[in-house]
Point group: C2
Chain length 458, copies 2
């Protein structure tokens, strides 16, 4: 049985046997308390013993981190903060743990625990963060599956580069030392007969599925080879990329809003202990912040209107480090101002085409595209969506303007020829979402084994 | 609304408006039938129109593959095989489709459709296969999440090689042409400061999560750079790797059996049309085969007992291409014989240690390990599981025997030092499972965009 089961129905008066680990061990002269957990719930079981047990002295030697099997009766607890405890009757030491075990029951720094990443899920904080990661992932699958989306596994290895976004990792089946000795790199010797890299986005391929199933989503790893050492960048991260046929920009914003609220609500409903812990020790006000998102009607405002607001602020004396301009991108300080201005999530729509991707639907003004970025208070951009250009000629022209080689995209263009239609999609960076939901402030702390410049451990 | 909705409740007598695609168009002089689908269900909607409509001549020109919006009343159908149809009242052509559209309503070969992979999900067969892929993926998440497992995202980029299984893809952030010119490959110039590759398995890392959460599973892409051009090998494929603490080999076999039955049952319950189509046109008897698995109690038999049976067969006149021997691996013909012998799934346990991985639990005999391969009638090995060696000294000794460099595995070994315990896990190749469930006979036909030697399209 699992410790979790004890909290799901009444076991008082019943004898149970469970395996797990010693999280803390407080010893008194005549009795002792083992803070016991098997990892199946954030909650611990208090195991109480006294010197009426034959092996009392042996038990007192059991150290923090050890794996044990305990047997005893579940009984009402006189202690504050818990309804029940186990009165220990017998205990077996399954695997001991030396005194130099790094995860002792005290506060460790995030930096220290990153070095001990293979042990950090055993701590209360990271135990909570990574359980929320798991539950949020399931919420995402559940949301899309229950709404009729077909899950699409975009290829990781790819010979094409989606929108040239960031730098790509290159993949080879040749020995790198041999390449160095060969004088000239011969891509025809690769297993695939040509150069390949790791995908930066599955969106273009996902559109092929939207044209077959109407509603599809990806959820898988994507890669950027950027040398960015920030709190928000990792070189390997998971993306969710839904794509919907017969859906325009307003339709996709409805879906984004509904989807985000669903995921947050699912986590609040299914991880109350984890959220409470993070609210208390990691990010004060976390729960209230998340509840506010669920209860907000998201604002929809154009890029031009945003610049109007930012310019008005300037006229009223606000000093900008970067001057807001029509037709140009907005800076982090602008995002912050706008979300604080509305005090709720804001979709900024109709962006200048030159700062957005080639596949976005050109608006009638010929200058802006039907794109929407979702900005959240306290974190900035969380999702980016757009209506896709469904007009073959316009898309082709745009690719020419950007000097793209159209040949490798023949299939993408053909989607506009073979029963093309209005369609839209968006992308969620899973780890960005987790930073928001958990209140953690560094992407390294929401990925089990993060890959960042100089760091590829475990 | 979606076409799927029409089959979920009674719409007869109601007017509806839906967007989708023309799958077939049969024209008569005074009326016509559009075989209409929006991809949300395997079922199509028959749209019937006649020359009382003003634009009858225009409608007759609408070609297969076009995107249309239709509006009309749902009414009882006089035709066989369908309960209702739409009496068309108005139609809008959203996106037309030329006559040379490759996916015409006729039988195409699998080979042809592999070349048109970006269109094949629009066909009945591949529409069914890839919807089953999606539903099976969800079944897997549902099974593990509802049973208290924490989803673990194993890293794709890794500096270590799990059991040296197959060849690894190498990843670089340096320009390959520049490496060729540099004379000597300098791995310190890589983004991570050292050589990295693409993971072949997330198991070892998953064990770290099992020691924190008791129950964990991975579900993500894995890679093998092998130059194997067979129906069963792809260079990129998805693996599920559950790992459970306080669980021995028998326990993990219980979980494997329960899990496989759950997934198959979930697909049968949620994709009846898809399974019926595949049963009829792709693999006769598919449904019965799958139902048999659900209703079987899987056999558990040791490797030695398997050799006994194979040798008995030989003594009774059966000719083997490969002679079965105690202490040696078994061949495909042996797997086939054994599953046909029992006529149900068979776990073969307690394998000779020298043909199995370093991390498997050594049995008391010192010669065999606590491993179990699950063999299925008609496909052979589908899952491989084992109890993991939890004894630090024995594991360390085995790694020495195999001349492994233990330094990069310090964390894996430490799991045995810091509250180690009996634990077990298994692996499922997702595409192998899909071959079994869909009856498709080539792994290229169950992966949206397969990567195989010489093939990295789309």
């Amino acid at each position: 049985m699992d410790v979790k089961d004890l909290f799901l129905k009444d076991y008082i008066g019943k004898k149970v046997k469970i395996s797990g680990w010693v999280k803390n061990h407080r010893k008194q002269k005549e009795f002792g308390f083992i803070d016991f957990s098997d990892g199946t719930t954030q909650k611990h079981l208090q195991v109480v013993y006294d010197n009426t047990l034959d092996n009392f002295d042996e038990i007192q030697k059991i150290s923090v981190g050890s794996a044990i099997e305990v047997e005893g009766e579940i009984r009402k607890s006189p202690a504050k903060g818990q309804d029940f405890e186990m009165g220990l009757e017998s205990i077996t030491l399954l695997g001991d743990c030396p005194e130099d075990y790094p995860v002792q029951p005290k506060r460790h720094s995030d930096e220290f625990l990153r070095e001990q990443a293979y042990l950090r899920a055993r701590t209360n904080k990271y135990g909570a963060i990574f359980r929320i990661r798991s539950v949020a992932a399931f919420a995402i699958h559940k949301y899309f599956q229950e709404n009729g989306y077909v899950y699409f596994n975009a290829p990781e290895l790819t010979a094409s580069d989606c929108e040239g976004a960031g730098e790509m990792f290159r993949v080879t089946t040749q020995d790198l030392d041999s390449i160095a000795k060969s004088k000239k790199y011969d891509s025809s010797k690769e297993l695939f007969g040509k150069p390949v890299g790791l995908t930066v986005s599955g969106q273009l391929e996902a559109e092929t599925w939207a044209m077959a199933y109407k509603k599809t989503y990806t959820f898988g790893p994507t890669f950027r080879a950027e040398n960015s050492n920030t709190k928000f960048h990792a070189n390997e991260f998971w993306m969710i990329e839904p794509e919907v046929a017969f859906c325009d920009l307003n339709g996709i914003m409805d879906i984004e809003e509904d989807c985000l609220k669903y995921i947050i609500k699912y986590v609040l409903d299914n991880c109350p202990d984890e959220i409470n812990l993070l609210d208390k020790f990691v990010s004060k006000g976390l729960k209230e912040k998340l509840e506010n998102v669920i209860n907000s009607k998201f604002v929809r405002i154009t890029h031009k209107e945003v610049i109007d607001i930012l310019k008005d602020a300037e006229n009223s004396g606000h000093k900008w480090e970067f001057k807001p301009e029509y037709g140009e991108d907005i800076a982090k300080e602008h995002e912050t101002y706008i979300t604080e201005y509305f005090k709720k999530p804001v979709f900024i729509t109709d962006w200048p085409k030159d700062i957005k991707a080639f596949y976005m639907k050109l608006n009638k003004d010929g200058k802006t595209v039907a794109a929407a970025d979702l900005e959240l208070p306290g974190i900035g951009e969380l999702m980016g969506g757009s209506q896709r250009e469904e007009d073959y000629e316009k898309l082709s022209k745009r690719m020419d303007e950007l000097h793209m080689d159209k040949a490798p995209y023949y299939w993408y263009l053909n989607l506009r020829k073979y029963g093309g239609c209005v369609h839209s999609g968006f992308g969620i960076g899973f780890e960005r979402l987790l930073l928001y939901i958990t209140g953690a402030d560094n992407i390294r702390d929401v990925i089990p084994y993060p890959r960042t410049p100089g760091n590829c451990e475990f």
